[in-house]
């Protein structure tokens, strides 16, 4: 199980994410910055729900909150579309 890939875009195995969480990462963003999980072409559409399951506490239920860890662009984009004149 430990060698199993979790973030397919960046090829990050389960053991790397577990280690990061053990060392204190508590949010999607922290895991992302430490391991690159969720920074690939799909921007976490596949691995985000998985990494959430590995975090110390899932989002508390029945509360309203600002969700973190989403960045534009949410789809792969040519730089020319981003920096248009």
């Amino acid at each position: 199980m430990d060698e199993m890939i979790i973030c397919r875009c960046e090829e990050i195995p389960l053991k790397t994410i577990r280690k990061t969480v053990q060392e204190g990462a508590c949010t999607i963003r922290e895991v992302k910055l430490q391991t690159r999980a969720g920074m690939g072409i799909c921007q976490g559409r596949t691995c985000r729900p998985l990494v959430e399951k590995l975090l110390p506490s899932e989002k508390e239920q029945a509360a309203v909150y600002q969700i973190s860890g989403y960045r534009l662009p949410v789809r792969p984009l040519l730089l020319q579309d981003f920096f248009k004149e």
């Binding site: 309203v64 949410v74 984009l77």
Partner: protein
């Protein structure tokens, strides 16, 4: 041309909303990243009890031509990469659209369940198999094993079989932080008892009734190891796929017997030869654009996960931003359509600056959503109604605390 409304997503929710809004004279543009209208409707093909065949592709065609006749503009193969209040919608072709109202009808994505070997070519999500098979007309494999038992994978197993694929069986995923209840035979027997009115095989119906009559862990104990056949496909609730193997592509899967609780019995394994594995982990609302816009979220497992906070009229807290369809919670296509109509009426009320005049129509549309939900033959989450109620309570609480400030 100035848009009144931009709809992101041309699935059943987006298409129904477009028709409704355009019928009130609104200028509507619909954007979708795929080449075709219909969203997830396009793969849907199954028999409904007492109602006959549900052919999603035909419904999509009908909705699309209705919308086109009403003057709705469609942009296909355009990815929305961000939205900015209030409101600019940015597309991947150098183009920005502007409108006072945006409807997010972006649907759902599949929740993966990783198991060792899941990155080998030939392993796919069950929804990908559905699209390959029913839309692209390509069989995903000759001999297919399905991992994960739920209403979606049962439906797709049947569709694959209709396409001439040999579906060799359906098994559970192994226990892990990712599979949760989906690895527990007791959970499945309880779920099957809720679906037993849909169950095609008398034995499955019996299993369902058994689970209703006796405690589920007893029913799970009596569940035969080699499975119960449903449309000739062994439904093996006492076996889990612990590893997928193959050099360049899928060659075989290692199955292990599991206890009543779903724990792996390592000494009781077998290997099964297949060229394709479909994994079903359920759906979650695709709400990334709402997150970028700064919408507050709530986490309601009854609705499928993290969802933008919204009212029963489908407005969000951000002025002019609305949601409809699976982004509000995982339900079937008919509910998505009714929600699309409702969201459009809310938007028309805002556009005409006359919510009062629209109120009776909005109320009627809300009742319709409820009715369609009650009559739905497919329900992805048994507690959907509870989830909807919680959402409404959180919405009201938030409004109250905001007005107090």
């Amino acid at each position: 041309m100035q848009n009144d409304l931009i709809i992101i997503g041309a699935g059943p929710a987006g298409l129904s909303a477009a028709i409704q809004a355009a019928s009130y004279g609104a200028k509507v543009t619909v954007v979708d990243e795929t080449p075709y209208p219909g969203g997830k409707l396009l793969g849907q093909l199954y028999e409904e009890p007492k109602k006959g065949m549900w052919i999603g592709g035909e419904i999509a065609k009908k909705l699309y031509s209705q919308a086109v006749d009403l003057g709705v503009t469609f942009l296909f193969e355009r990815e929305v990469w961000s939205i900015f209040p209030t409101w600019k919608v940015s597309l991947n072709n150098h183009q920005d659209l502007r409108a006072p109202n945006v409807l997010l009808a972006t649907g759902a994505a599949e929740r993966p369940i990783p198991i060792p070997g899941w990155t080998i070519p030939g392993v796919m999500a069950v929804g990908a198999a559905q699209v390959l098979c029913n839309l692209q007309r390509v069989r995903p494999g000759k001999r297919v094993l399905i991992v994960g038992v739920d209403i979606l994978s049962l439906t797709i197993a049947r569709e694959l079989q209709w396409a001439g694929v040999d579906v060799v069986g359906m098994v559970l995923p192994p226990p892990s932080p990712f599979s949760g209840q989906k690895a527990d035979p007791r959970f499945h027997l309880a779920a099957l008892s809720n679906m037993s009115h849909l169950a095609p095989s008398p034995i499955l119906r019996m299993a369902g009734n058994l689970a209703k009559a006796v405690p589920v862990n007893q029913a799970a104990r009596f569940y035969p190891r080699k499975g119960v056949k449903i449309w000739d496909i062994p439904l093996m609730l006492r076996k889990a796929a612990i590893e997928i193997q193959g050099r360049d592509e899928v060659e075989r899967v290692i199955l292990a017997d599991v206890t009543v609780e779903g724990e792996i019995l390592n000494h009781q394994t077998q290997s099964i030869e297949v060229d394709c594995v479909c994994i079903s982990g359920g759906l979650y609302p695709l709400a990334e654009l709402a997150a970028l816009a700064g919408c507050p979220f709530v986490n309601l497992p009854e609705l499928g996960g993290q969802i933008p906070l919204h009212s029963a009229q489908l407005e969000t807290l951000l002025p002019g931003l609305y949601v409809a369809g699976n982004i509000t919670g995982i339900e079937g296509a008919k509910v998505a359509m009714a929600q699309g109509e409702l969201a459009a009426l809310s938007i028309i009320g805002r556009l005409q600056n006359n919510l009062e005049k629209m109120a009776p129509l909005i109320e009627e549309a809300m009742q319709k959503v409820k009715r369609v939900r009650e009559e739905a033959s497919i329900s992805f989450h048994p507690e959907i109604v509870l989830g909807r109620r919680k959402m409404q309570a959180l919405w009201e609480e938030t409004l109250t605390s905001q007005s107090a400030q």
